[in-house]
């Protein structure tokens, strides 16, 4: 293989970390949504929907934590990550996720979320949403991730994923109980449309910036025209954003048969869930590290190590 024409991408963090980041964002988003529903209560069944959010958040957070635990090479030392003595974003996120899960489980048994504990938990959940992006943004060698747009993208993606799962659960529950459309479903669908729109806009800015920055362009190409192209255009753009956006607008405005409404809602939310995951997975897998710059010797790809596959690309000065 020609060493001058193959791009090296990071291989240390794969699907397990991608799913963990996705579930962490979804779980945190679900809690924030549940808290806001409990506080605002714009529809009669929002108390029930808020409770459903809290339950779903717990399940998703447990799954996310178990997955990242299974990714570790030496799990016995994982407890050291709960130390506050280090400035690592992974340590901060681990502590925040643990606190969020514990507080969430406590509130499953409480009548409502509108309390001091609820407010504190919401703030922790917001921190978790930011952590999912900061984990990558703090890595200096990866210019693709070194932008404030990434944490913002992951925050909106997390909230959007939360709405998607909640909408899916409400619609599925309705389908299984005689095609009854819950009053909270349409507001959730409207929020899905808004979240999808915002996520799409931020994603466009994120990719635009990647295209404009020379050292991030390789990652942009991997995502849009390289090995990630099909997953990006089909999975992220069409399935993950266009379908939820267009069908969501249609669902919100049209008067449909309850059965049709519920089935379309299930379809829209499933598409959104798939697309939301693919955004995080592709952003993670497309990360390429900065090449070594040798004075008088051009730029050199990094050595064959735990991070890179066999061949790299060399740049000349």
């Amino acid at each position: 293989m020609d060493a001058n024409n193959v791009i090296g991408v990071q291989k240390s963090w794969g699907w397990k970390v991608a799913i963990h980041l996705y579930l962490a964002g979804m779980g945190a988003g679900l809690y924030v949504i549940g808290f806001l529903m409990d506080v605002l209560r714009p529809a009669s069944d929002f108390a029930f929907t808020a409770k459903l959010s809290v339950y779903a958040a717990a399940a998703v957070l447990i799954a996310g934590l178990l997955l990242i635990y299974s990714h570790l090479g030496n799990r016995a030392n994982a407890v050291h990550a709960l130390s506050l003595a280090v400035p690592s974003w992974l340590a901060r996120g681990s502590i925040a996720l643990t606190i969020l899960l514990i507080f969430d489980l406590i509130q499953i048994g409480m009548p409502n979320l509108n309390s001091v504990l609820g407010i504190v938990t919401s703030l922790v959940a917001l921190f978790v949403l930011v952590y999912t992006g900061m984990l990558l943004t703090s890595l200096k060698p990866f210019q693709f991730w070194r932008t404030w747009l990434l944490p913002i993208l992951f925050v909106f993606s997390g909230m959007g994923s939360g709405f998607m799962l909640l909408g899916f659960l409400i619609a599925l529950y309705g389908l299984l109980n005689g095609s009854v459309v819950a009053p909270s479903l349409m507001p959730v669908v409207s929020c899905i449309v808004l979240a999808t729109l915002w996520t799409a806009l931020i994603l466009i800015f994120f990719l635009w910036r990647a295209y404009a920055v020379a050292s991030a362009k390789d990652s942009f190409r991997i995502m849009t025209t390289g090995s990630g192209a099909m997953a990006f255009w089909l999975g992220v753009v069409i399935v993950g954003h266009l379908i939820p956006l267009l069908l969501g607008i249609y669902l919100s405005s049209a008067v449909l048969n309850p059965g049709v409404t519920l089935m379309l809602s299930v379809f829209v939310t499933l598409c959104g869930i798939i697309g939301g995951f693919l955004v995080k997975y592709l952003v993670l897998s497309a990360g390429t590290s900065a090449k070594l710059k040798v004075v008088g010797g051009g730029s050199v790809p990094l050595p064959e190590s735990a991070r890179f596959p066999a061949s790299h690309r060399v740049q000349y000065r």
Binding site: G73, H80, L90, A91, F142, V295, G296, V300, P303, S305
Partner: protein
Amino acid sequence: MTRYGMVIDLARCVGCDTCSIACKAEKATPRGVQLSSVLKYETGTYPKSRLNYLPMQCMHCAEPECKKVCPTGAISKRDDGVVVIDSTKCMGCRYCVLACPYASPHNLDKICTYYEGHMTPFEKVGYQKHTAGTSEKCDFCLSRIQKGLEPACVDSCVAKARFFGDLNDPDSEVSRLIKERNGFVLNPEMNTEPSCYYLPQREVK
């Protein structure tokens, strides 16, 4: 205070990989793990093309990115400047592998032997130093420098291209070489302040 550092003369390096093998022998690293390696890359176009060699190992940075991102505090910087990983604390998250601009840490997913289903006597003794699932990297052969010896890669270099010493001592050989021969570090824009310097190659006429 001592700050250990290394200087590698790219004008003398012949890419023989003796340093890589010496490191492997000293550290008894498993199959597939190379804490010190030599990159080979081409510059220029034919007929004025050139094969270059770039020895790589941990840069023992003054501001190590690996230490900043380590969630368990397993990575620390000693008073003498050597950056070490404590395998009794490492949980194998691979965050340091991603954070290092020089790809120095290696994660030992599993310890692979050189011969399938069989460990040589050397491997039986040597592999006891490694913990599967943790990250490892060059530590400037700490056990050797504590005895007053030089790291194995420096000691074994056949072209005398590697130098080791105290960067904080202006009269040391490493400090003198950096000053006289315009020593440089790789990717200074990362602001990690590596302790490994390189001396420029000779110009191609």
